[in-house]
Amino acid sequence: MAERQYDWKAIAKNPKFIELHHKKAVFLFGWWIFSSVYYFLLPLGAAYAPGLFKIKVIGAINFGYLFALSQFFVSWALALYYAHVANKDFDRLTRELVEELHL
């Protein structure tokens, strides 16, 4: 199978590609920073706001426990949200770009 030759420089300047990588970069790094900040609030909060973590919310279950548990749900939600956006937007833009190049 012969390797297809691409003009990478031209593709990199293609408006569709610029749109794709710009959208991706904003989404990926933005949400990555969000998730990191949210995660580091856990050890920081446990160390510097123990009073907050001790507040009982339902029965014996306290804020700290719910916050730690929420980390799992936030991570899962973010993963699903990313999959949704990527399947809908990023993959569509990529497909459109590839179709345009093959013309």
Binding site: I11, S35, A47, G59, A60, N62, G64, Y82, T94
Partner: protein, 661 residues
């Protein structure tokens, strides 16, 4: 083919021999498994005092604290091991027939689906430390154990958002493939291979030593036999079955692990009438937990009792006392997982970026679900077995899950207890096999593909030669792994997992991210980033509290001596110390004599760095070195080739086809 058959036969013989060894009436050593990286546990002197029965004022519902015992039924356990070995060997024979090209060997021909890869990632990632260690931490220290587990899942956000898809699009088999794309390939591949081998070796050593100790504890196999048995199976899987066999071993293990965790959680919740509130009430109202916590906080000069002490179990600070260390570990996890060569390698096994994405998301649900269940297991163990009972078996709590299975099963019928314990022992066994195989494969790929094929042979090697090189390398890497495992029996390996993550986070991750996203990044940047990040993490760990400091050991021994002598003085004249105490005194005296004038491996009396986890210093250093190297030695070629890499990683155009149809 005949060579293959001989090795398979040898593997089988050895497994049988290992089983025969196990039949010897060998007393399993108790309280010695160092499975978890954080198994700091309670000081030895505290353990006997904690097993005193709950005070008489405690409600009558209190379970009387008795010495627990972990007793695996050897016949059942070993038959289950045999079933696992049998199934996996069938997989290997099947996989061996399909492994003809280098792509088959390293990437299963790109023929793994997203779902399969998700299970395999989970199987590759969840080691015995997370399976046994984290539930143990929760059973002894409550909330802190749970908090510790969170980072292991959040780490996958970085994998998902930053590395998985670009690596699938831009890479082929190894870390070196990605890094050498627009750099001078030979030096970059060589350095990348060294870093991969370093990370894999640290991780592998920790896993091998944990495996040996765990098997010795569970089924009474001698440590050496366990290491050799596990080692031979691991080598067999990788050498013959390559990535296909490794993947399926990991999938089988993840399935077993999740079934075990679900079943056990179900039994735990049944005890609390399937009510989360009932469950938490059981925790705070358990007199044994209250007693355990009040003794824990007493060491910090806090007096707590009754329900307040029980509630304290659900609050932070019983185990993780240094927030900076927590943040440092968190950084190593969040960035290190995405730099782990054996995790990166899994993304080359799927055909497309979409499949890579799907596989991370599936892995996140499995891994996260597992850690949520782990909370139930850890707290369930604390309620049903009491922390004192768990400590009496293992100071670090590593046996909590297994004890819980034994007890909850036995509550149904004694034979169910045996079966359930045997099942979880086999899960632990499968876990070890799956994790070590992945590591051997990653290290071998770096040596065979990067160093042999691309550096020594300039990329001129036919498929047959490449596969042969990969097989021979796996054999050698596996043999070295076994050898290190045998040598390290008595070594302090607890810090090695954290070290592996630190190296991956400080060395590998910065250069992967910069090669994928920074136009100017070049050869000098890769090399300086990898070298500085790796050396900084190793160097910092060498001067950290993870190493053994003889003077500190001596001071600890001195305390034991003083305590025992005080006990002796309090006895009526002529009376002798109890056997255990007398033994402790003799050991402590010997420890003191041996260690009083010693220094650590680095010639230090006490650690220079206060943190156990170097990430907070070494990660920024790795990034800084990579950036500085790039700016000092700019390369036009690297900049010009960025467009190609950037388009490829974003779109998957021109992707290295794993299968050539």
């Amino acid at each position: 083919m005949t060579f293959k058959k001989i090795i398979i036969a040898a593997t089988l013989t050895l497994s049988v021999a290992a089983a025969a060894f196990a039949e010897e009436p060998n007393k399993a050593p108790s309280a010695s498994a160092a499975v978890t990286a954080t198994a700091a546990g309670a000081p030895a002197v505290a353990a006997p005092g904690m097993t005193t029965p709950a005070p008489a004022t405690a409600p009558a519902t209190a379970t009387p604290v008795k010495k627990k015992e972990l007793k695996a039924n050897k016949v059942i356990t070993l038959s289950m091991f045999a079933v696992i070995i049998g199934i996996t060997l069938c997989v290997v024979i099947w996989a061996a027939k399909q492994t003809k090209t280098a792509s088959d060997f390293y990437a299963a021909g790109g023929g793994i689906t997203g779902t399969q890869n998700g299970w395999a990632i989970a199987g590759d990632y969840m080691s015995a430390a997370s399976f046994l260690g984290i539930s143990g931490l929760i059973s002894l220290y409550g909330y802190d154990g749970f908090m510790y587990s969170v980072g292991w899942l959040v780490a996958y956000i970085t994998v998902l958002l930053i590395v998985a898809e670009p690596c699938r699009n831009a890479g082929k088999y190894t870390l070196g493939d990605i890094l050498s794309f627009r750099t001078n390939p030979k030096p970059v591949r060589a350095v990348a291979a060294i870093s991969t081998v370093a990370v894999s070796t640290f991780y592998l050593t920790a896993q091998m030593v944990g495996a040996g100790k765990l098997m010795a504890l569970l089924v009474g196999v001698p440590y050496r036999t366990a290491i050799i048995g596990v080692g031979i199976l691991m080598v067999g899987y990788v050498v013959f079955g390559g990535m296909t066999a490794t993947t399926w071993v990991q999938i089988i293990k993840a399935g077993l692990l999740m079934s075990g965790a679900f079943l056990l959680s179900f039994l735990v919740m049944m005890k609390s009438g399937f009510s989360p509130f009932g469950f938490f009430n059981d925790i705070v109202n358990s007199p044994a937990i209250q007693d355990h916590v009040s003794k824990l906080v007493l060491k910090d000069g806090v007096t707590l009792s009754g329900i307040d002490a029980g509630q304290r179990f659900l609050e932070p600070g019983l185990f993780l006392k240094n927030p900076l260390d927590q943040i440092s570990l968190g950084m190593a996890l969040v960035l290190g997982t995405a730099g782990m060569p054996h995790i990166l390698m899994r993304f080359f096994t799927v055909p497309t970026a979409q499949a890579a994405r799907k596989s991370v998301i599936i892995a996140m649900f499995i891994i996260g679900g597992f850690y949520v269940l782990t909370t139930l297991l850890g707290f369930g163990a604390a309620i049903n077995l009491t922390p004192q009972g768990i400590i009496s078996v293992d100071k670090g709590g590593n046996m909590a899950t297994l004890l819980l299975a034994q007890q909850l099963g036995a509550d149904i019928a004694p034979v169910v207890g045996d079966l359930f314990l045997a099942f979880l022992c086999s899960v632990a066994f499968a876990t070890i096999l799956a994790v070590v195989s992945g590591l051997v494969l990653a290290a071998s790929a770096a040596i065979a593909h990067d160093i042999y094929v691309n550096v020594i042979k300039d990329g001129h090697a036919d498929q047959h030669e490449q596969v042969m090189a990969a097989r021979v390398t796996s054999l050698v890497v596996g043999a070295i792994g076994i050898f290190i495992g045998l040598l390290a029996e008595k070594a302090n390996v607890a810090h090695l997992v954290a070290l592996a993550f630190a190296v991956a986070a400080s060395g590998n991750l910065p250069v992967v991210v910069l090669s994928l996203f920074w136009r100017k990044f070049n050869t000098a940047g890769v090399i300086s980033g990898l070298v500085v990040g790796t050396i900084a993490s190793i160097g910092l760990v060498m001067v950290s509290p993870n190493m053994t400091y003889p003077k500190v050991v001596a001071a600890g021994a001195q305390k034991v001596i003083a305590a025992m002598e005080k006990k002796q003085a309090a006895l009526p004249p002529g009376a002798q110390l109890e056997e255990n105490d007398a033994k402790a005194l003799v050991t402590a005296k010997a420890d003191y004599e041996k260690n009083k004038d010693g220094t650590s491996m680095m010639g230090l009396e006490k650690p220079i760095m206060k943190l156990k986890n170097p990430g907070i210093f070494s990660i920024p250093l790795g990034f800084f070195a990579a950036i500085l190297g790039t700016l000092l030695f700019p390369s036009r070629r690297s900049e010009e080739m960025f467009d190609e890499l950037y388009v490829r990683q974003n779109t998957g155009l021109g992707m290295a086809k794993a299968v050539d149809h």
